[in-house]
């Protein structure tokens, strides 16, 4: 395992020290593992808190700041945070207008945020939870833990954050988050596996000419294995897969997030995005806004995910609203 770390056990703590040093605009509570804005919002405002296992940077800490999150709770690598973190975060940023938990749909995340919500309620805090489950690689059935939360998290955190910044009430902010999640679909392809520091070896072995199709962001294998093909064909497959599960008709507008999984050069992401844009144009889908880069990563996994969110004037306005975080500025 080749990594720029000190020890597998200390990765999270060491990274938090680096985040604290790099971002004076954030307050990093290392012992409690909570990242908040250094400057508290003036007056009461709905507090947005997200969190999840580490290894997906810049998610979530990179999205803490005016116009987006109030706090992030990073767990160990690929391990959801513990309830104490979310409780500490809620107490730290709650300003009288209630708290929204933005939770990616994974068993561990759901359970830990659920316990945190119970504890927060016992302390008299009003908490709403928005569940993000946009990954169409998993069919949502009694046969699975439900769809994974991936790229749509960025859109939910950005738009709900913008609405909260405007002073919208708790239920409205939560409802908007749910609406954006419902309007989003994602799908991912990996060229290489991710290596979790604690595991010390890749999550799966992939021959030089094969790819994993329908992967998640925790190093687990995908739904099937295929031969590596030109970017044009992979982009077409991903676009078709996402659209097949999406309720879009020609003329509809979308926000497109072409996301790198961590080890993919930006040059390649642009190659893929060019093909994605061409396929969407052929289908009559108009890309109203796009974002290309590494936003929801899976450690050192090479590959990409595409997220398409059906847009409307309100969403576009919230998407365009000012934001000032380490990973997203406008």
């Amino acid at each position: 395992m080749k990594k720029l770390i000190n020890t597998p056990e200390s990765v999270l703590e060491d990274a938090l020290a680096g985040i604290a040093a790099a971002h004076p605009e954030l307050t990093v509570d290392v012992p409690n593992r909570v990242i908040t804005r250094a400057a508290r919002p003036a007056g009461p405002k709905v507090a947005l808190i997200s969190g999840g296992g580490s290894g997906h940077e810049p998610l979530h800490g990179g999205f803490v700041g005016p116009g987006m999150l109030d706090a992030a709770c990073p767990g160990e690598v690929f391990t959801s945070p513990v309830p104490d973190q979310m409780l500490a975060a809620a107490k730290a940023v709650e300003s009288g207008a209630g708290v929204v938990f933005i939770v990616k749909n994974y068993t561990g995340d759901v359970m830990n945020f659920e316990l945190a919500a119970e504890l927060a309620a016992e302390e008299g805090l009003e908490v709403r939870t928005v569940l993000v489950n946009d990954d169409v690689a998993v069919e949502d059935s009694t046969w699975t833990a439900g769809r994974r939360g991936t790229g749509a998290t960025v859109l939910v955190e950005k738009t709900a954050g913008a609405l909260a910044e405007r002073g919208a009430p708790l239920d409205e902010v939560a409802a908007l988050g749910e609406r954006v999640n419902a309007a989003s679909r994602s799908f991912a392809i990996a060229l290489t596996a991710a290596t979790a520091p604690a595991a010390g070896k890749p999550g799966f072995d992939l021959p030089e000419d094969e790819i994993e199709v329908g992967v998640g962001i925790h190093g687990e294998p995908g739904r099937r294995r295929e031969k590596l093909r030109p970017a044009r064909e992979l982009a077409a497959e991903v676009v078709e897969t996402v659209l097949a599960d999406h309720h879009l008709t020609p003329g509809d507008e979308v926000i497109a997030l072409l996301n790198g999984l961590g080890a993919t050069p930006l040059l390649e992401l642009y190659v893929v995005y060019g093909e994605v844009a061409a396929r969407l144009a052929e289908r009559g889908i108009a890309v109203a806004r796009s974002l290309v880069g590494n936003y929801v990563t899976s450690l050192d996994m090479a590959g990409f995910s595409l997220t398409l969110t059906k847009a409307d004037p309100e969403l576009l306005e919230l998407w365009d609203a000012p934001v000032d975080t380490p990973a997203l500025k406008r």
Partner: protein
Amino acid sequence: MDFDTPLAEAWIRAIAAAVEKEHSRLTELDTAIGDGDHGSNLRRGFAAALTALDGLQPAGPGAVLTKTGTTLISKVGGASGPLYGKAFRAIGTALPEPAGPAAVAEALSAGLDAVRLLGKADLGDKTIVDAWTPAVAAFRAAAATGAGLPAAAAAAADAAERGARDTVPLQARKGRASYLGERSIGYQDPGATSTALVFRTLADVTA
């Protein structure tokens, strides 16, 4: 022989030792059908549980297990943290003092109920429930026929290990492994495997 405070402490220390010994095996199982952290999750959790015990003057065996559960919840994270945490809290709360085999059977079954309430998994979903359920049943059956703690715990451990092995042919329907669909078949569930450790150590410390 009753389930008393020294036994409760001995059990937790034995689990911690077993996890320390087996964590890489658990992580490897989790790498195959999960995200490769089950071993390090439990290792971190039970190490913290030991520290918590050192500072503790337990009111009784139940307090030892409740404290352990609380510690797991606040130190582990992931799916296994809340599940094992709630389980030990439930066992500790249900445990009278002193507790004989029948009372321990009831407490263990309360632990299983807590797991199922939180995780909503059924038998056969390829989760810790698949090891925990036969273990509780075997323990209760042995206790009902008058077996002492050692015999009941040994029966539970055997049943848990069988239950863990029997997860191999199953397709996961809960947790991360469910994302793999049919590709989850053919691997032993990491959580069911750690549950087998939990019951084997109980047998060891009562033997």
